[in-house]
């Protein structure tokens, strides 16, 4: 079982959960499992061609995972952290919007 930390901006697409246990032999499989369980996550993680979106930053056990390292092998108990790009601060008109 792999633990994935879901960042706040993506939690609305995962029933509000912060940590989700998924299965997979590789990072790509773990993310696919996540998207299978929570289909609303799919467009936020992958582009139309199925590639991981460039602004989805992944960290495996605290270490950065490069954009082409989806094949990295996972071991039970590993922890994947998704780090989103957040603009932060007070809301600015015209900025990307919250889901609700």
């Amino acid at each position: 079982m792999i633990d994935i930390r879901i960042p706040a901006p993506l939690r609305p697409y995962a029933d509000g959960q912060k940590e989700i246990g998924v299965s997979g032999e590789t990072i790509a499989e773990a993310l696919e499992d996540l998207a299978r369980r929570y289909p609303a996550m799919q467009p936020h993680l992958f582009d139309e061609g199925g590639a991981l979106r460039p602004y989805v930053n992944l960290f495996l056990n605290g270490q950065e995972v490069g954009p082409f390292n989806g094949g990295t092998r996972l071991h039970s108990g590993d922890r994947l952290v998704i780090v989103p790009s957040i603009a932060g601060g007070a809301p600015a008109a015209g900025a990307p919007l919250a889901p609700g």
């Binding site: 790009s85 007070a90 809301p91 008109a93 919250a98």
Partner: protein, 392 residues
């Protein structure tokens, strides 16, 4: 610990200053030499909002000799839930003026420079020039990339903080010694895909926590003590009261801080991010899709059959409601689109018009044409049509 360009030679502390900073002077990590470094230091704080408030307050209290403040807004009532540098007595006052007043009350021995203007590619070099370090307390992607790039191009550290609802991020980006913001986020998310906190709300104390961490990093860099957050990103979750730390690497292909940079001067950041950093009217739908609150009120009064769809979240109904409106939160609109009738004229609304604009784009993309977005949302309706409703 990399050394910052601070030259304390010649700076002296008066007896009064020695007394003021007594609790610093007692610690060998600061001491008299450290306090003189703080006095000789200059820090530019971009934004005097949620993050900038605690940053500027703590830097002033700690005796940072010169603080620059950049902001172009005025203090609004809804700011006071988290922007603690301002107060009820400075409502309507330019934020930088309000902030300077508070800082000089806290510590009259420091110098506070104010820049009552947006931070842009045109003025960034001029504004940043006198300062050794920049603190990023902005609220939008274009300004974040601009702050990063000016820091990389001038060799200054960028003390980064960002917040969303209950979560925050903190790091120190200093290209000479580690990764920069672009190494972590080479490009911004496309507008609308990854949400920001516009209309999403923010836990008022969260920028206090994140901004205070930024202030701590700033003071450590000036003093040259401890382990800076260089190459480390701290993730904070106020709900679970927990921190996560991830290690950042310098991106060998970074467009600005790699050995072969493509970006050698400041660019057009609003174009780069596809969103405006400062234009408050930008992002509006074209006029044909908008309906003004007074026009809607007049049409309803004439008995026209308009369907009103409220795309806010259920908990927002407790604050204000429009009679006869049906609730379909934006997040579930795609799945509930079949409940709408494309032949019937439909008015979409939310708090202030942004979410309903996205809802309209979603529906228009699915072929709906008889759509209007209530300009300014239910808040504008409350302001212009029904003052009995609360504005939030």
């Amino acid at each position: 610990m990399p050394d910052l360009d601070v030259y304390p030679n010649g700076s002296q502390l008066s007896h009064e200053e020695i007394r003021r900073y007594s609790r610093h002077l007692l610690m060998p990590e600061v001491g008299l030499d450290g306090q003189k470094r703080l006095k000789a230091a200059s820090v530019l704080v971009i934004g005097t909002g949620g993050l900038g408030s605690p940053v500027a307050l703590y830097l002033a209290a700690a005796g940072v000799g010169r603080i620059g403040l950049v902001d172009y807004d005025v203090v609004e009532f809804t700011n006071l839930q988290r922007q603690v540098i301002h107060g009820t007595s400075t409502l309507g006052v330019e934020k930088v003026i309000s902030a300077r007043q508070r800082l000089l009350d806290l510590n009259p021995d420091i110098r506070v420079d104010v820049y009552n203007e947006p931070f842009t590619s045109e003025n960034a070099a001029r504004i940043a020039e006198p300062y050794a370090l920049i603190v990023d307390g902005t609220d939008n992607f274009p300004t974040r990339y601009l702050v990063n790039d000016i820091c990389v191009l001038t060799g200054k550290p960028n003390v980064y903080g960002s917040i969303f609802r209950f979560e925050g991020q903190v790091s120190v980006f200093w290209a000479k010694h580690g990764p920069c913001y672009r190494c972590l986020f080479p490009e911004p998310p496309p507008p609308g895909l990854v949400p920001s906190c516009a209309e999403g709300g923010v836990f008022g104390v969260l920028p206090g926590t994140i901004g205070t961490l930024q202030a701590a990093e700033t003071l450590k860099l000036i003093l040259g003590i401890g382990e800076p957050l260089l190459g480390r990103l701290l993730l904070y979750d106020a709900l679970s009261q927990s921190f996560d730390e991830v290690r950042l690497k310098k991106n060998p292909h970074c467009r600005i801080c790699s050995d072969k940079p493509e970006i050698r001067e400041l660019i057009d950041y609003e174009a780069f991010c596809g969103v405006p950093g400062h234009d408050r009217e930008a992002g509006r739908l074209s006029q044909e899709w908008e309906i003004e609150p007074r026009d809607l009120a007049a049409r309803l009064a004439r008995g026209e059959k308009l369907r009103l769809i409220d795309v806010r979240e259920p908990h927002e109904l407790q604050i204000s409601q429009l009679a006869g409106a049906e609730l379909i939160p934006l997040g579930s609109l795609a799945a509930r689109m079949h409940e709408l009738d494309s032949a019937q004229e439909t008015v979409l609304f939310c708090k202030s018009g942004s979410r309903s604009a996205r809802a309209l784009e979603l529906l228009a993309g699915a072929g709906f044409r008889k759509l209007k977005n209530l300009h300014g949302g239910i808040n504008a309706w409350a302001e212009q049509v029904d003052p009995s409703l609360a504005i939030y």
